[in-house]
Symmetry: C2
Subunit: 411 residues, 2 copies
DNA sequence: TGTGGCTATGCATACGAATACATGCATTCG
DNA sequence: CGAATGCATGTATTCGTATGCATAGCCACA
């Protein structure tokens, strides 16, 4: 979309031609159309013409161009300036009407109503970009979750949105799919596109990287996960080490299982090792032995759980009880075991972690450790907004969100 | 955060004091601190001072203030101007180095490398707000889905993000939860915060409203749903009327069911009535009667399906086969029926619509009509980007996405 | 040696809104 | 009745970037 100033289209008066416009081989029709008409030196119209504009050309009695008006202007969004013109006031006055909180500046009732009428008539909407550029605030927070397909994160997203909307903030949701590359991409995007705050579930990101991306710009951050501790970053965590410990204990003491397997995840997915540690602690405490063959890794997804179960099946032997470090994998594992004719929980008991909606769909219903994702989301968002709204620096805070064992039928 | 220009803090020379600053009862320490030092008329520093800035004040031999320097400046993000200063070039030159595509403007290798080094050293990142304000493009598209908890939408979101990332666009995801209010809110947000394009799954929005929000600004839009037809708006649809028709036919001819129930949704949720229509067409075509008692409404969610099933159970009689207009409700219904001791499919057969992942978790596995949400997402995004990138207007296009009957165990 | 062209860069401005500062007028106060 | 004050508004500037236009230096050509 070439833009041409009317003045640069003038032909017979070289002094108003820029070198650029002489040299350009820009030969579009409007330039030619305007060229046919002489223009007085100094005539300058503020308008820009796009390639597909229809121009209406006015000339004076001597044949000089006096006005070139767009007849087919692609309707541009009205600005405060348009509103101001229509209301017969200045642009800042419009701004003041809109931002009543402007330090005690009064606007007369009459002006206010005229401005509001003009806004209404033009359908004016403030341009958030311009406002943000000026105020250095975007009224936007960014949320990065680890897996949009995992029902665990939905209530978190909802809760964050609820809190944000209440404060008139928008939420930019992003989904990392547990991939380091996506996490980094998120940080990059967010550090270029200023947001006022960040909530995230970092899996692979290191403290150093997070500091790198957000420390410099002082962007408030709150995160889910107990593996990171950073100055000035609020953390919400669930004590999953203890949760798996207690759940494993329960399986041992209440259900009498002694022969365990574990479906975990790679070491670079922090909650996995932590949960395994709690599991292992209980096993060791009871002096049970743990057969390394029964430790298999998945990827937090249903298919990963299914693959892990296939691995176990192929190994020939099965543990009596299987602790799976999240529900999605637990479900994948159960379905695979059942397909292979293995009875759950009679032959293999399965314990999950999260309590996502699907845990109540599968038969047998999944015994699992329930987290409270809505609570997590609310805590994350509240902490962030406290930071956003606080005048004074707030010391790092750590919030624990509760979890509890939900006993159903699978273990 | 009060900002004070150094010049307005001058005390002994009234002529440089603004009326505002004389009158204001702003008595913060920095104003006072600077006031103690005389300033020559005309001295003006470009810097703004925040309340918590530490100032380093320099005076000349006569005791006049010559310089006020921030010592504790909260590190601001560097701008092109900072880069330019460091590299010893002008700001536009930096801009040109960054945007190599700038119409054939050449930059010498030496300058380029100096600029790049400065960028590296300062950790400069372009400010997307400023860029967008200038270019009128945001490199962002907005996506509104109807229910983040419904697995049907996840592949759509992923596909849209995949396409967008490939073109270096960001995606703003929003979730309407099927609520009209949220849909309108989305439109308002998006029409204030300019995005380059919009993809949405409008449920309640009317063509008139959509035209109102996006028509004026010429924002390219593509939508999922066959109930809307708008000039210049691409639509992807699944022929769900026909899909339910065929599936119902199949239940009649292949399974021999004659006595049907239907769990639908309120008339203002368009896909519902459409699906009911296809269902009804098959029923009528085979001359079967349809007992109105067996038509119950839900809300597209699992709990809605459960509630609908409870209504049916309470009514005393049950149909032999139940067509549920989406999987989430179908699953809710099956679980409720099973809880009540009803055998699925032996007493009541259940057919769903969508084929979400949960359809394979529930037992019996859900017989359903599979849509291809990834395909839908790809089509939506491709259509949008074609429009975004096209120089010339593109006529309205309508894409059909395939669906197919997936026969499992529930019907 | 002047003219024109090219290369590499600088200068000025615009995007839309918020805000520091200025001002005209009416009011108040001594 | 003049000076200070407050109200309602206008003017100028700013945010960070992209870009239209200008220009300095060089080279080629006549």
């Amino acid at each position: 979309m070439t833009r041409i100033h009317a003045k640069s289209c003038f032909f017979p008066l070289p002094q108003v031609l820029s070198t650029t416009s002489i040299r350009s081989n820009n030969r579009d029709k409007h330039q030619i159309a305007i060229r046919a008409i002489p223009v007085r030196t100094g005539l300058y119209t503020n308008a820009n013409y796009d390639d597909d504009d229809q121009l209406e050309l006015h000339t004076d009695e001597n044949g000089y161009l006096t006005m070139a008006k767009k007849t087919s202007a692609a309707m541009k969004r009205p600005t405060m300036y348009d509103v101001a013109k229509l209301a017969g006031v200045s642009q800042p006055t419009v701004s003041r009407v809109l931002n009543e909180n402007d330090t005690a500046v009064a606007i007369s009732e009459e002006t206010r109503s005229r401005v509001l009428a003009a806004i209404e008539k033009l359908g004016y909407r403030p341009n958030v970009l311009a406002r943000s550029l000026r105020t250095q605030r975007t009224q936007t927070i960014a949320l990065m979750i680890a897996d949009i397909s995992n029902g665990f994160y939905h209530p978190i997203a909802r809760a964050v949105q609820d809190v944000a909307r209440q404060r008139d903030y928008e939420v930019l949701i992003s989904n990392s799919d547990h991939l380091y590359e996506n996490e980094r991409h998120f940080c990059q995007v967010v550090s270029r596109r200023p947001v006022d705050g960040v909530i995230m579930v970092p899996i692979h990101l290191t403290e150093h990287e997070i500091e790198d991306y957000f420390g410099k710009t002082q962007t408030p951050v709150s995160m889910l996960g107990s593996h990171l501790h950073m100055e000035g970053v609020d953390v919400v965590y669930v004590d999953d080490e203890r949760a798996t410990y207690e759940a494993t204990r329960w399986m041992i003491t209440e259900r009498g299982y002694r022969d365990f397997g574990f479906i975990g995840v790679a070491d670079d997915l922090p909650p996995g090792p932590r949960r395994f540690h709690g599991f292992r602690r209980a096993i060791d405490e009871f002096g049970l032995s743990f057969d390394q063959r029964f430790y298999v890794e998945g990827d937090f997804k249903m298919e990963g759980g299914a693959a892990a179960a296939r691995t176990l099946l192929q190994s020939g032997a099965l543990p009596r009880a299987l602790f799976v470090c999240n529900d999605l994998m637990a479900i994948g594992a159960i379905l695979t075991l059942q397909e292979a004719g293995v009875q759950v929980p009679d032959q293999v008991a399965v314990m999950g972690f999260d309590d996502i909606p699907e845990a109540r769909i599968i038969r047998p219903m999944l015994t699992t450790i329930a987290q409270d994702p809505r609570d997590i989301g609310l805590k994350l968002a509240s902490a962030l907004f406290e930071r956003l709204e606080s005048e004074t620096p707030i010391p790092t805070r750590i919030f624990e969100s509760e979890r509890r064992l939900v006993i159903r039928d699978s273990a």
